[in-house]
């Protein structure tokens, strides 16, 4: 789960990280008011769940309250990579001497949490990682004991910081790690972490994402969810225990199992079609789940045909077929449906489906080809 910059800054602040105080505006008038209150140069920053805001023109500097109003006018309503800007953060300008990058992420290959830091801050860190990997300093946290202070200091020394700056930087590293672990984050990032000309550290941009599987122990984080930022259909799906991701094509997919669902999308593409979604209906493929899946898929007007791909394992194919026909009684599906049913009692299932007037086949390839033709 993602949150906005201003929310991440609030969390980082609770952990003792020096963040740049700011306020959120939802209208140009509010933006002007806040800027006037601050009485200084401000940054007007779009609050959307995506990166590259700067390049897209979603961050502007305003020297006067009027300029802040104009900047907010320009940014609010803007579409940045498909995200519409509903809020801007008005933050005081900082006296930047140097910019650093500091992030905490999971190092998957090593199965450990890792600190990443770079003296090249304020830019796209993935680009730095690709093109100048030697500019990135890392430290792996002990999986049982956590990050040690000596590791935080070592990162600071490796960045080439002067002795008097070591403890301040290391302390921010420890706090960011602490926030990451205590809040069950999947990302905690400060970019840029700024050193002012008076030698102070300020987290100028804060970013945090969370482990969906751990939200149960962080009700406060769940409340930070911005529903305007989330795809309503994906949210609805999650509440039904269905994994759903909207895509750009026109072939709706309903599959049991995440891996098979991806393979199904790939098969549609392979046969010349474009999948409209990823959908893993979960284990049993009961009538109820299939009905929900139909509702999710047909909510997308661009869907012109639906491919149901079920491998009957523990669940019997005839039971799945009954589920599909029952679901069709509950949901009015107006586009062609192709069912691929394989595994336990698949033949009986396919017969039941054929009796209900559905195209039911044994092979995934045949089904993909058929649904592309039907669309």
């Amino acid at each position: 789960m993602d949150i906005h910059e201003y929310q991440a800054a609030e969390i980082f602040g609770r952990y003792g990280i020096p963040v740049n105080p700011g306020e959120v505006a939802e209208t140009p008038a509010q933006a002007e008011e806040i800027a006037a209150k601050f009485g200084t140069l401000v940054a007007v920053k779009s609050q959307v769940h995506t990166g590259g805001r700067g390049k897209a023109g979603g961050i502007r500097i305003a020297k006067t309250p009027e300029a802040a109003r104009e900047a907010a006018e320009a940014i609010l309503g803007m579409d940045i990579k498909g995200h519409v800007v509903n809020k801007v953060l008005i933050a005081r300008g900082a006296d930047i001497a140097r910019e650093f990058y500091l992030g905490v992420v999971l190092d998957r290959p090593r199965r450990q949490i890792t600190i990443m830091a770079s003296a090249e801050g304020g830019v796209d860190i993935e680009e730095v990682a690709r093109e100048r990997p030697e500019k990135i300093v890392r430290a792996l946290a002990d999986p049982e004991l956590g990050l040690h202070p000596w590791q935080a200091r070592q990162v600071a020394f490796q960045l080439g910081l002067a002795p008097e700056l070591i403890n301040g930087f290391a302390s921010i590293v420890m706090k960011l790690y602490d926030a990451y672990v205590k809040e069950d984050a999947t990302l905690a990032e400060i970019n840029p972490l700024v050193l002012t000309s008076s030698g102070e550290w300020i987290a100028l941009d804060s970013k945090m994402s969370f482990d969906d599987n751990a939200l149960f122990r962080h009700p406060g984080i769940e409340q930070l969810r911005d529903l305007a930022e989330e795809n309503a259909t994906e949210l609805e799906a999650r509440h039904s225990g269905i994994s759903f991701v909207k895509l750009d094509g026109d072939i709706g997919c309903i599959v049991n199992g995440a891996g098979l669902a991806m393979a199904t999308m790939d098969a549609v593409k392979l046969h010349g079609g474009e999948p409209a979604n990823f959908l893993d209906v979960g284990g049993g493929a009961s009538a109820e789940q299939v009905a929900k899946a139909f509702r999710l898929v047909t909510a997308d007007p661009s869907v012109r045909a639906i491919l149901i791909n079920i491998f009957g394992g523990i669940t019997r194919g005839d039971v799945v077929a009954e589920g599909i026909t029952t679901a069709l009684g509950q949901v009015d599906v107006k586009v062609p449906i192709v069912v691929r049913l394989s595994g336990t009692n698949a033949e009986e299932g396919r017969q039941l489906l054929a009796e209900a007037g559905l195209t039911a086949v044994d092979s995934m390839d045949d089904a993909a080809a058929a649904v592309v033709r039907a669309a």
Binding site: R108, R130, L247, G259, L260, V268
Partner: protein
């Protein structure tokens, strides 16, 4: 031969009286797996499919000497169940549970390794040695004994490929589902090493998906250490970046973890990669004939 489970497996089921636990225990017993005990706190004295239930792993170990444990307990209790198993000396633990927080698994993974034990999963379908032991939630009947070792990050997609292999007359030594989470106990590399060392396994099928770099690591390992023919399949060629495709681990992030990269890495290691599951048996036959 086979890897990790076979006729000598003495299986413990943790969470045996739960809905999933009792259902799959019955299935495993029916398949012929030697399920020796179950654990559910407060369940002592009960039986599930004829299997005696104990309150603690320690009691179950003392009474029945299991050498493998499978875990069917909810996500917030599953890490504790893994600790209970390995701390009581069970050398191989399979965790079926989906939805365990990543932070919990960081510590679990390290601890299991320290104890010299092996974890399979979490969020995996388990492992089966056809005709000997089914330890998981996979449908047993689609499998057939034979020379192919299969390792996969997925569940139903694995069944799809196993079904295709079996229908093509290609049986399996062992099929192992390593799971779809960002942190898993047994990686492709671990499974490949075991298959390489198993004399009955003549060829290996490896089914990957987007996310992480385990397939790339596997490709490197194959080119350096695996002498047996390997065929691959990677799901998610059409998956968009930044979106989690069901499995917590199936996400392309920061431009890394794409199917294209994984396929390229495998092909560079001499591993033919099928463009669809149904193409796997033919590629395996061709690879074995070489």
């Amino acid at each position: 031969m086979s890897i990790l489970v076979d006729r000598n497996t003495r299986l413990l089921v943790q969470g045996i009286t739960g809905r999933e636990g009792s259902f799959h225990t019955t299935q495993m017993v029916e398949y012929g797996t030697n399920v020796v005990a179950g654990v559910t706190p407060g369940g002592k004295g009960k039986e599930v499919a004829g299997v005696p239930v104990f309150d603690t792993v320690a009691e179950a170990v003392a009474a029945t000497q299991p050498n493998v444990s499978i875990i069917y307990v909810p996500a917030r209790f599953a890490p504790d169940a893994i600790y209970e198993a390995v701390d009581n000396g069970i050398p191989f633990v399979i965790c079926i549970t989906e939805g365990i927080p990543v932070a919990d698994m960081v510590a679990v993974y390290a601890h299991v390794r320290e104890k010299g034990a092996r974890l399979l999963g979490p969020n995996c379908p388990g492992i089966i040695t056809p005709g000997q032991a089914k330890v998981g939630i996979m449908p047993g009947f689609i499998h057939m004994p034979g020379p192919i070792g299969l390792v996969s990050r997925s569940g139903t997609l694995t069944y799809e490929v196993v079904d295709a292999l079996t229908k093509a007359g290609l049986g399996q030594t062992t099929a192992i589902g390593i799971g779809g989470d960002p942190i898993i106990g047994t990686s492709f590399v671990d499974a490949l090493a075991l298959f390489e060392a198993d004399p009955e396994t003549k060829a290996i099928v490896m089914i990957g998906e987007i996310g992480g770099t385990d397939e790339e690591d596997a490709a490197r390992f194959i080119s350096e250490r695996v002498t047996k023919p390997v065929v691959g399949f990677i799901a998610g060629r059409t998956a968009p970046p930044g979106k989690r495709m069901g499995h917590a681990g199936a996400i392309i992030s920061g431009g890394a973890g794409t199917a294209a990269e994984k396929i390229a890495a495998l092909e560079a290691a001499g591993v033919p990669v099928a463009d669809r599951p149904s193409a796997v048996p033919a590629l395996i036959r061709a690879a074995m004939a070489r």
